[in-house]
């Protein structure tokens, strides 16, 4: 999403909420993923230990990030992998485009990569007459329908089988209509196998990069990632620069956390570790491997001790699966590449609060995301920070881009009023009395536009006759 766009959240949300099919598709899928994760991590003591380890590894990686990236670059170069650095998504796409054009390639096959989505790489390549074909089944499905992923792990989860059946029937020549999942799968296999055979450049992401050995690690189930990284003569890896870890031994705990949190798997079908291009004498594998390291705001995030926790993320998607907001809206309503809790903390920091700050409000702060996050990212704390900085101009170099964009007069008055009412007991008491009086009258308020909108899908609350302040005082609790 270009940073000039401001997403219209309210209308996106209303649209998403009004789509019962979407909600049914999502709900069932998210419940299943959640259940599988719980089953896999059934032993809380083991999970706590593993998680502490994962958290520590990611923290250490970030503490040493500049030196680890230099080490990674050195190791990769020694091994024959060419390393490129990009400050922005535009630069990263340009690097890929140059590499592809240098080989006169027009057929690019892609493994699933959220960073390439962040770069809008397919769009850039298509503008230059290059076919960039998504080969992960979910990504293939949504690309056929000109959509973006609605989930970072299961990108087509918003679609059900009849929607996919129609899509295949309409978009893939000579394809009969079928709703049998195995048959749909076989159709995609056939189409894509030809593409793997003919692909001139493979593009993929990476889940981890190991500084110690210069190894790029990819986690997948389908084998399309292996195809994209093995069959074509050139392989380009695009990766956010925070994905580096220090040592090879850091990989097993993170891998276990990633597959367990994402899909409740002990391990995926394939774990693919790439350390060099084809060596003399070897019979296959790409002759050239390129690693594109993308910053796109990450180095700024690293400077702040609280915000940097965002960069620990291993993109498992568990926070999406457990989020009451995500499971009702799906990913598209968020309007940006990364949806759900991780998207709500990452995107405003990259795009600026003035563009994506509203994402931070797409949360009830229930904390379910934090409870499941395998690397203990304090998501709700960061959400609150982003909300605060939306209202307050902050005098610090670490302030989030676009801070204070909501600090207009009306808003700040409201907040001052709220602050005063909480600081001064008499004001609070007054408020409470007014609310209690209003309570019984509230139904009449539904004529007021704001309340009318709000109450369309909800039951109006009844305010308690006595406030918590009052009740606490009656119970003899001096300070609540």
């Amino acid at each position: 999403m270009a940073s000039t766009t401001v997403v219209d959240f309210p209308s996106n949300f209303i649209k998403a909420l009004g789509n019962p099919q979407l909600r049914r598709n999502l709900r069932a899928a998210m419940d299943t993923l959640g259940l599988r994760r719980r089953t896999l991590f059934a032993d809380p003591a083991f999970f706590a230990q593993l998680r502490a380890r994962g958290d520590a590894i990611r923290q250490r990686s970030l503490r040493k990030l500049p030196q680890l990236l230099e080490q990674l670059e050195r190791k990769c170069t020694e091994n024959g992998i060419q390393v490129h650095w990009a400050e922005t998504t535009t630069e990263a796409s340009q690097i890929c485009l140059d590499l592809i054009q240098r080989h006169n390639a027009t057929r690019v096959i892609k493994g699933k990569s959220m960073v390439s989505e962040e770069m809008h790489l397919n769009h850039v390549l298509e503008e230059h007459g290059i076919e960039a074909l998504e080969t992960d089944l979910g990504e293939y499905i949504i690309q056929l329908d000109h959509e973006t992923p609605s989930h970072i792990i299961v990108p087509a989860i918003h679609k059900n089988r009849d929607q996919i059946a129609h899509l295949f029937h309409e978009k893939i020549p000579d394809t009969p209509y079928t709703e049998v999942v195995e048959e749909l799968n076989a159709i995609a296999r056939k189409v894509l196998r030809e593409k793997f055979f003919a692909g001139e450049v493979g593009v993929s992401g990476a889940n981890f990069a190991v500084a110690e050995t210069g190894t790029l690690c990819l986690v997948e189930n389908e084998g399309n990632g292996r195809m994209c990284t093995t069959a074509p003569p050139v392989h380009i890896v695009v990766m956010g620069l925070e994905k580096v870890v220090e040592r090879l031994e850091d990989v097993p705990p993170l891998l276990r956390l990633l597959t367990g949190s994402a899909t409740g798997q002990l391990i995926t079908t394939y774990f693919n570790m790439i350390t060099s291009p084809r060596k003399p004498g070897e019979k296959d594998g790409p002759r050239e491997v390129h690693l594109v390291l993308l910053d796109n705001g990450r180095s700024k995030i690293l400077a702040d001790p609280q915000l940097r926790e965002t960069l620990k993320c291993i993109r498992c998607g568990a926070c999406l699966n457990h989020c009451p907001v995500y499971t009702r809206l799906g990913g598209h309503a968020y309007g940006y590449v990364y949806p759900g809790p991780i998207g709500s903390i990452l995107t405003p920091q990259i795009e600026g609060l003035d563009h994506a700050g509203a994402m931070a409000s797409a949360s009830s702060l229930c904390g379910a995301c934090e409870e499941v996050c395998p690397v203990k990212i304090p998501i709700t704390h960061i959400l609150r920070r982003l909300r605060n900085e939306s209202y307050n101009k902050v005098d610090s170099p670490n302030a989030v881009k676009g801070h204070g964009y909501k600090s207009n007069l009306a808003e700040s008055l409201t907040w001052k009023g709220w602050a005063m009412s909480n600081a001064a007991p008499w004001a609070n008491a007054l408020n409470a009395k007014m609310l209690a009086m209003l309570g019984s009258q509230l139904t009449k308020l539904t004529k007021v536009e704001l309340v009318k909108n709000w109450s369309q899908g909800r039951t109006l609350p009844r305010f308690a006759p006595k406030s918590l302040h009052v009740l606490a005082k009656e119970k003899g609790i001096p300070h609540e």
């Binding site: 598709n25 993923l33 380890r53 923290q59 970030l62 503490r63 040493k64 990030l65 500049p66 990236l69 490129h84 650095w85 400050e87 630069e91 340009q94 690097i95 089944l137 979910g138 499905i141 299961v154 990108p155 087509a156 679609k159 089988r161 999942v181 749909l184 799968n185 995609a188 296999r189 894509l192 055979f197 189930n221 389908e222 084998g223 195809m227 093995t230 069959a231 097993p252 891998l255 002990l266 391990i267 995926t268 079908t269 394939y270 774990f271 570790m273 790439i274 350390t275 084809r278 060596k279 004498g281 019979k283 296959d284 594998g285 910053d295 180095s299 700024k300 690293l302 400077a303 001790p305």
Partner: protein, 231 residues
């Protein structure tokens, strides 16, 4: 942004920002310790790997170092396959070539670079490879493809047959990495494989055989099969 040398500027700018960023935050708390190592006994390692990989729809045949070729022939005779891709220059390949029979799918050696034989690679039904070992904890094979046993052998054919020595099943990935000192020299490509290729991208319905092999058959060579009761 099209100037020559722009890319190296990006590198400097990024590293400068990153260095300033880590200097601001500094070092923090000591690290949580490594997880306690797993310690299954030999029989448990074999049994666990078998159970977990079977759950992922791999077909596991437990045999031994004298009986495995016969077991393989049996597996092949149950199927209709147009050929078996193999690595003629490995000990495993030599054994196969010596023991081959006419009624079996013909052995096809992977002897040329992929550019010369891509069509055959994508057309052949089955491929057989050795393995470097296995992982009991999660149920997976370790493969380090090399010049003799190239990467596509375990990927392009619809059926992948893998031969695993039971002595080389490790407790965990961490253990395999440490004992075999992987960090001192990683190969071009190292792989863990836990079953045939699969996807759940349509309504989370698990289906097997999407882009990689549809079938994975593992011959475990176990010369010390477990007694029926633990001793």
């Amino acid at each position: 942004m099209s100037e020559v040398g722009e890319v190296s500027h990006a590198r400097d700018h990024i590293l400068t920002r990153l260095r300033a960023a880590v200097a601001q935050v500094g070092e923090s708390a000591p690290e949580a310790g490594a997880l306690p190592p797993l310690d299954f006994d030999r029989a448990e390692r074999v049994a666990r790997l078998k159970r977990l990989m079977e759950a992922m729809h791999a077909e596991i045949v437990v045999t031994d170092s004298t009986g495995w070729v016969a077991a393989l022939k049996n597996v092949l005779r149950q199927r209709t396959l147009n050929g078996l891709l193999y690595a003629p220059e490995t000990p495993l390949g030599a054994t196969l070539a010596a023991a081959w029979e006419d009624d079996l799918p013909p052995l096809v050696g992977y002897t040329q670079e992929v550019e010369q034989c891509k069509e055959q690679l994508f057309a052949i039904d089955a491929g057989i490879t050795s393995t470097k070992g296995g992982i009991a904890e999660v149920g997976a094979l370790i493969l380090w493809p090399d010049a003799h046993e190239p990467r596509l052998m375990s990927l392009a054919p619809a059926v992948h047959i893998a031969v695993l020595d039971a002595d080389r099943i490790h407790n965990s990935l961490a253990e395999a990495m440490a004992q075999e000192r992987w960090a001192e020299g990683m190969p071009t490509n190292a792989l863990l494989i836990s079953g045939p290729s699969k996807t759940a991208d349509i309504e989370l319905v698990l289906t097997f055989g999407v882009h990689g092999p549809k079938e994975l058959i593992v011959l475990i060579l176990d010369d010390q099969p477990a007694p029926s009761a633990p001793s």
